[in-house]
């Protein structure tokens, strides 16, 4: 049986941690648990765009390297801790572009060292990425210059899902970036609203939106685990909360107050444990 804190303990300091964008089921309760366990030196990869979770981890000093196509709080404006960290030179920043991140994960998914991607040539992003390589069409057919992106292999992919089944399979619906992220990663940790006593793969209708337990290392139940972000079909993004965060976190002091109140104070997430919501299962065959 896993709970949030044991899941958080599975993310080692220094891990390359992959995180989906805000519309794609970010495991906020687990992020808070990571901050409580004072994870550090993370290489955070946003797939491809970061939001509140990235801003919290950065503000908490947990991130050493950030690879991202953008970090933003969406309609609530800029991500304040991210902006200040970059402007202060506190982050090893590896600026990227959305399809480059997807493509580099696909390279890991296929077990190859690199993948080519169109476009990009002439962007200052390319000049500033010494791991990207521009080559002349290696097929030798006059295709022109093309960028080769080295594979990105996350140590850990984390996400929150509406539901897992008792076989360790997880529903991902049409959020298929989660599939690529799990395939590419060495370990995948999932929080869910609930575990259902069935096998999603037994039914053709649910199988279509299921990530096999083959790729899932451990699961913990965390009701409301994506809050204050939204979870498709379950709850909406709490825009007022996020706007308030954006305002409060503009200063380091404000951010510290926020952390103390919303993350370290054992109210929100801890309550769930008391009500028995945070129980979990560990799947048999993680990788």
């Amino acid at each position: 049986m896993e709970d949030l804190e044991s899941l958080a303990a599975r993310v080692p300091d220094g891990a390359l941690l992959a995180l989906a964008p805000e519309y794609s089921w970010v495991p906020m309760a687990l992020i808070r648990a990571l901050i409580r366990r004072r994870v550090k030196d993370l290489h955070l990869l946003t797939v491809p765009i970061g939001g509140l979770a990235a801003d919290l981890l950065i503000g908490a000093g947990a991130v050493k390297t950030l690879e991202s196509a953008a970090v933003s709080l969406g309609e609530a404006g800029p991500a304040p801790r991210f902006s200040e960290a970059v402007e202060g030179g506190a982050l090893d920043m590896r600026d990227s572009t959305c399809p480059a991140i997807h493509t580099a994960l696909q390279a890991s998914e296929k077990g190859v060292d690199f993948m080519p991607l169109g476009g990009l040539v002439g962007s200052d992003l390319v000049d500033n990425r010494d791991d990207w390589k521009v080559v002349d069409d290696p097929l030798g057919q006059g295709g022109g210059p093309v960028v080769l992106l080295p594979a990105i292999k996350p140590d850990v992919t984390v996400f929150h899902s509406p539901r897992a089944d008792t076989e360790g399979n997880v529903w991902i619906g049409r959020r298929r970036e989660l599939v690529t992220m799990a395939h590419a990663a060495a370990a995948t940790l999932v929080t869910v609203e609930a575990v259902e006593d069935r096998d999603f793969l037994d039914d053709e209708a649910t199988a279509a939106g299921t990530l096999s337990g083959l790729y899932v290392t451990a699961i913990a139940v965390a009701e409301g685990g994506a809050r204050p972000l939204g979870l498709t079909g379950h709850y909406e993004r709490d825009t007022d909360y996020i706007r308030a965060y954006a305002e409060e976190a503009k200063t380091g002091d404000g951010f510290k107050r926020y952390l103390d109140r919303e993350v370290f104070a054992e109210t929100g997430d801890e309550t769930e444990t008391e009500t028995g919501a945070e129980t979990g299962t560990e799947t048999g065959a993680g990788s």
């Binding site: 991500a79 572009t97 040539v121 210059p145 049409r174 690529t180």
Partner: protein, 270 residues
């Protein structure tokens, strides 16, 4: 992917008697929509209610056959293959038009979504380049959108090229910038010359004002015979029929993705 969505408040064109005045948002939407009519597939990125309305309006005006995709929402979102699909789709040549903003846009149509300063020493950081470095190359008709027409945004040279406006021969580039819509005017872009060309000035504004607020040099509209130095037209007002469509059908449709925006811009009159 575009910045603050409020167009210049200076736009307040006249409307038919009995009709509420056209708002700046409505005006810009109609300018954009004209650029999209008849296209097969217009894709709209995140946080882009004004481009979203323009795309939906253009589809409505063009009749059957057009498709609008709006990512991240539930309505008008055809993508079921994960975050990469919109980029794959563009790479396949299936997206005819897309919108890009820019914290800075320069006279060669280079765009900067990343920050001010000398990279990696960033003085003022913006969110980042998003997918611009790919979409700008692959989508045939990219429309640049800069609600704030100022020398702060429209600069001589961007501090950081998130995506270049043009590419040298040999670089595969089916796509690129075709137009720039601002709160003051409409410009087209000529990749061969690497220059913008003013097409029309929005009602109530002047060429002088545009020159004063633009950090780069640009060409004037072509004259009658196609030569340089023609007169500067005024951007047409929204047609009454389109305005009606926008305020009814389109307002309802965009509310599925951007309820707050729809309520603010259309609701009082819908």
């Amino acid at each position: 992917m575009s910045k603050a969505e409020t167009a210049s408040s200076k736009i307040s064109p006249k409307t038919s008697p009995g009709e509420p005045a056209t708002t700046p948002e409505e005006f810009i939407i109609c300018v954009m929509a004209r650029l999209l009519e008849g296209l097969g597939h217009v894709s709209v990125g995140a946080l882009s209610p004004i481009p979203g309305c323009a795309a939906l309006l253009a589809r409505e005006v063009s009749g059957a056959g057009g498709r609008v995709s709006i990512i991240h929402g539930d309505a008008n979102n055809p993508y079921t293959d994960g975050g990469r699909e919109i980029f794959d789709c563009a790479g396949q040549g299936r997206i005819d038009a897309f919108f890009l903003g820019g914290a800075q846009i320069d006279g060669e149509a280079n765009i900067n979504l990343l920050g001010l300063g000398s990279y990696p020493k960033i003085d003022k950081r913006f969110p980042g380049s998003f997918g611009s470095a790919f979409m700008y190359f692959t989508v045939p008709k990219v429309i640049l959108f800069a609600p704030e027409h100022s020398r702060r945004v429209l600069v001589e040279r961007v501090d950081f090229i998130s995506a270049p406006g043009t590419s040298p021969p040999g670089v595969r580039r089916p796509g690129g910038p075709k137009a720039l819509v601002t709160g003051l005017c409409l410009m087209s872009f000529e990749a061969g010359k690497k220059r913008f060309r003013l097409q029309s000035v929005h009602p109530g504004h002047t060429l002088e004002e545009i020159r004063d607020n633009t950090g780069f040099d640009f060409d004037l509209p072509r004259g009658e015979g196609g030569g340089e130095g023609g007169a500067v037209p005024v951007t047409p007002e929204p047609e009454a029929e389109k305005l009606q469509m926008l305020r009814s059908t389109i307002a309802a449709e965009i509310a599925k993705t951007y309820p707050d925006f729809a309520a603010r811009v259309f609701q009082p009159r819908a």
